[in-house]
C-alpha cells in the first residue's frame, strides 16, 4: 500500500457512561485510582477495536483518561501534574459552560513520564501505529493563569522543555508518530506567533519521530503561510466545519511539497453523519491542489462531544470515502 491518503483521528473519543460515572466518583473520593485506571483501559481497548474494525491506518488512544487537554497535565482528578502547575477555580468559557483553569505558580519542570504508560498500553493492543498525544507549549500556557513568570514568553519557553522531555520519553518507548496540538496558536497572531513557533521548534528539534500538529477553529488566514514554519511533517486543519474555505489560502500560497495536509473531512460538532459522497467530494476538492501522498483524512477535531455511535459512524464514512477515492486514483 502506498503511503497516500492515510486515515487517522485527531485525539479524543466519547467516554462511555460507566467511565463518566467512575471519573465523577473518583473526583469525589468514592472510587480507588486503581479501579479508575482499569475502566480507562477498558474504554481505551473499546476504541482501539472500533478503529481497527472501521479500518483506520494510524490510531489514537482516545484520551479516555483525560478531561481537558490542558487541565489533564495540571492536576485534574485522575490526571498528572507538571511541576509548577496546579488546578485553579472555575472560570466560564461560554454560556453555562465552566472549566477549572490551571495556574502556573512556580518553575515548570517535567515530573517524569505523563502519557507513556497509556500509549504503551494502547500500542500493545494493536499492530497499527498509535500516535502519541500532547498539548503544545503555547496552548498549555495560554490556557493557564501565570503567577510565576514575568512574561508569557518565559513561561512558554520553559513549558517547551517540559513537553520536550515527554516527547523524548514517548520516542524512547517506541512511539513513531506524535501529534502536538496547538489550538491556541492563533490567539495573538501579530504579537506571539513567531514565539509560539520557536517554542515548538524547541520541543521537537533533533528528535527522530514524525511530528504532527492540529490547529482548530480560529483565524487560520492570519497565520497562513506563516504556520508552514512549524517543524512538523503534518498540519491538520478543520476543513469540513469551515466549508473547505482554507483551500483558498492554499490557492494563494501553495502548500509545500515536504508537508502533509491533515484534512478534517467530517464535522465533529454536528450530530448528522455525513454521506460517503459528501466526504468524497471534499477530498476531491483537496486533491485538485495536492497529490494524494500529501493528504491524510481525519475528522475535524476530537470526537469526544459525539455519542459513541455517532463517532464510529463518522469514522466509518470517512474510511469508506477514502477507499472510494483510492480506487478512483488506482492507489490500491
Amino acid at each position: 500500500m502506498e503511503m497516500a491518503l492515510l486515515t487517522s483521528a485527531v485525539g479524543s473519543y466519547p467516554k462511555p457512561d460507566y467511565l463518566v460515572r467512575a471519573r465523577n466518583a473518583y473526583a469525589q473520593g468514592k472510587l480507588e485510582l486503581q479501579e479508575l485506571r482499569k475502566l480507562e483501559r477498558q474504554a481505551t481497548e473499546y476504541w482501539v477495536r472500533v478503529q481497527e474494525r472501521v479500518g483506520l491506518d494510524v490510531l489514537v488512544h482516545g484520551e479516555q483518561e483525560r478531561g481537558d487537554m490542558v487541565a489533564y497535565f495540571s492536576g485534574e482528578p485522575g490526571g498528572v501534574v507538571i511541576e509548577g502547575m496546579r488546578l485553579g477555580g472555575l472560570v466560564r468559557s461560554y454560556g453555562n459552560r465552566y472549566y477549572h483553569k490551571p495556574i502556573i505558580e512556580g518553575k515548570l519542570r517535567w515530573p517524569g513520564p505523563m502519557t507513556v504508560d497509556m500509549w504503551r498500553f494502547t500500542q500493545s493492543l494493536t499492530d497499527r501505529p498509535v500516535k502519541g498525544m500532547l498539548t503544545g507549549p503555547y496552548t498549555m500556557v495560554e490556557w493557564s493563569f501565570n503567577e510565576y513568570y514575568p512574561t508569557r514568553e518565559d513561561a512558554v519557553m520553559d513549558m517547551a522543555l517540559v513537553i520536550r522531555e515527554e516527547v523524548k520519553a514517548l520516542v524512547a518507548a517506541g512511539c513513531r508518530y506524535i501529534q502536538i496540538d496547538e489550538p491556541a496558536i492563533h490567539t495573538r497572531p501579530e504579537d506571539d506567533f513567531a514565539m509560539a513557533v520557536e517554542a515548538f521548534r524547541r520541543v521537537v528539534e533533533g528528535i527522530d519521530c514524525e511530528f504532527h500538529t492540529h490547529i482548530c477553529y480560529g483565524p487560520i488566514e492570519k497565520i497562513y503561510p506563516g504556520m508552514l514554519e512549524l517543524p512538523v511533517k503534518q498540519i491538520h486543519l478543520a476543513f469540513k466545519n469551515t466549508g473547505f474555505q482554507y483551500l483558498k489560502l492554499l490557492e494563494e500560497h501553495p502548500w509545500p511539497a515536504d508537508k502533509v495536509l491533515g484534512v478534517g473531512v467530517t464535522d465533529v460538532h454536528n450530530h448528522k453523519i455525513e454521506s460517503v459522497e459528501e466526504v468524497v467530494e471534499g477530498l476531491r476538492l483537496v486533491l485538485k491542489l495536492l497529490p494524494p501522498h500529501q493528504v491524510w483524512a481525519l475528522p475535524d477535531c476530537g470526537l469526544k462531544t459525539r455519542t459513541p455511535e455517532e463517532a464510529e459512524g463518522k469514522l466509518r464514512v470517512m474510511v469508506e470515502a477514502v477507499r472510494q477515492v483510492r480506487r478512483e486514483l488506482g492507489l490500491d
Partner: protein, 329 residues
C-alpha cells in the same frame, strides 16, 4: 480617588459554596423551572455579588452583569433586528460568545437595563453604575446582513440605545458607562463613535464614562479624550505601553481617567506596594481627584473568590495610596 469596577463579575463560586446559577440555568434549559424561577435566582446571585463588592471595599459597584450571557447578546436579544448565531472567540481570550446577526432594522423595544439598575441600587449601600456595551463594539462583533453598512448600523444602534441611556439617567443612575473595547482595534471608528455618543448621551446629565480594554490606545490617543464623556477607561495591564502613551499627552482638566491597574485576567495578586506605585505614577499625569482606580477589565476571567480578593486588594492599595499621597477618597 474612588475605586470602581469595569463590568462583569463571576457568576458562580467554587466549592464548598453551591453553583446555584449554573444549576438553575441547567434546570431551566431542561424545562424543569420557569423563566420566573430562573430570574429569582439571578436576582439572588446579583445580591450576593453586590455584597461581595461592597465587602471588598469598592466605592462604585456594578450589578455584576449576572444576567448577561456575554457583553453582546444581552443587548442584541432585547433590540429588534437581531438573530443570534454560533460561538465565536471573544478577542484574545479563551471565552466565546454567540455572534449577533443583524437581519432587520435595529430598534428600541422598551427598557431592560433600567430594571436591572434599579434592582441593584435598591439593594446596595453604595452607588451602582449602569453599564452597557457601546454601538461600535456591538456592530464590530455582529454580522451585518441587513444594513451592510457599518456607519448606518452604528448609528441605528446609537439611536436604539439612546432611550435606554436616557431612562437610566432619569431613574437616577449616578453614572452610565459605555464599554467600547473594539474601538482600539478600529481607530478609524473614533469620529463615528463621537457621533454615536452624541446621539446616545444627548440630554443625559448624570456622569458618563467610556471604557476600553485589552488593546493598545496608541492609535486612538489623545483623540479618545475628545469624546463627549466624563471618564475615559484605559487598561494599563494588558498593554504596559499604554502608560507611556498616557504620559505623552496632557490630560485635560475636563476629564477623569478610569485606570485599569489590577489584572482582571490573571490570578497573580498585585502587592499593595505595586498598586501604590501605580497610583503615584498616575498622579503625575492626572490629579488624584480625577482618578478612578479599577481592574483592567471585567472580572469573569477569574474564579469568583480570586475576583473578590482582587477587589479587596485594589481597595487596600487605594487606601494606602491615599494615605501616602495625602489625598482624600
Amino acid at each position: 480617588m474612588l475605586t470602581t469596577v469595569v463590568g462583569h463579575y463571576p457568576k458562580i463560586p467554587n466549592r464548598p459554596r453551591p453553583a446555584r446559577l449554573r444549576q438553575a440555568i441547567a434546570r431551566y434549559e431542561r424545562g424543569e423551572i420557569t423563566r420566573e424561577e430562573l430570574a429569582r435566582i439571578e436576582d439572588e446571585v446579583t445580591l450576593e455579588v453586590i455584597q461581595e463588592q461592597v465587602e471588598a471595599g469598592i466605592d462604585i459597584i456594578s450589578d455584576g452583569q449576572i444576567r448577561w450571557e456575554d457583553d453582546q447578546t444581552y443587548i442584541a436579544r432585547r433590540l429588534s433586528g437581531f438573530e443570534i448565531n454560533g460561538l465565536v472567540r471573544y478577542l484574545d481570550t479563551n471565552t466565546y460568545f454567540r455572534q449577533p446577526v443583524v437581519v432587520g432594522d435595529v430598534r428600541y423595544q422598551g427598557p431592560f437595563l433600567v430594571q436591572d439598575w434599579r434592582f441593584a441600587q435598591d439593594h446596595s449601600p453604595r452607588p451602582v453604575k449602569a453599564i452597557l456595551t457601546g454601538p461600535i463594539t456591538l456592530a464590530r462583533l455582529s454580522q451585518d446582513e441587513h444594513y451592510r453598512h457599518h456607519e448606518r448600523l452604528v448609528m441605528a444602534l446609537a439611536e436604539a440605545l439612546a432611550p435606554e441611556v436616557q431612562a437610566l439617567a432619569q431613574a437616577g443612575a449616578p453614572l452610565v458607562q459605555v464599554n467600547e473595547p473594539l474601538v482600539l482595534w478600529h481607530p478609524e471608528d473614533v469620529p463615528l463613535l463621537r457621533r454615536a455618543l452624541e446621539t446616545m448621551l444627548a440630554g443625559v446629565t448624570c456622569e458618563t464614562a467610556l471604557y476600553t480594554w485589552f488593546g493598545s490606545i496608541e492609535r486612538v490617543y489623545p483623540q479618545l479624550l475628545e469624546l463627549p464623556v466624563d471618564t475615559i477607561g484605559v487598561d494599563l495591564v494588558s498593554q504596559p505601553r499604554n502608560w507611556q502613551v498616557l504620559g505623552q499627552h496632557p490630560f485635560p482638566a475636563s476629564k477623569k481617567l478610569g485606570a485599569g491597574i489590577v489584572d482582571g485576567r490573571n490570578t497573580r495578586m498585585e502587592p499593595v506596594e505595586e498598586i501604590v506605585a501605580a497610583v503615584r505614577h498616575l498622579s503625575r499625569i492626572v490629579p488624584p481627584d480625577r482618578l478612578y482606580l479599577n481592574p483592567s477589565c471585567g472580572l469573569e476571567y477569574l474564579p469568583r473568590e480570586v475576583a473578590q480578593a482582587k477587589l479587596r486588594r485594589l481597595a487596600e492599595g487605594a487606601a494606602a495610596a491615599r494615605q501616602q499621597l495625602g489625598v482624600e477618597a
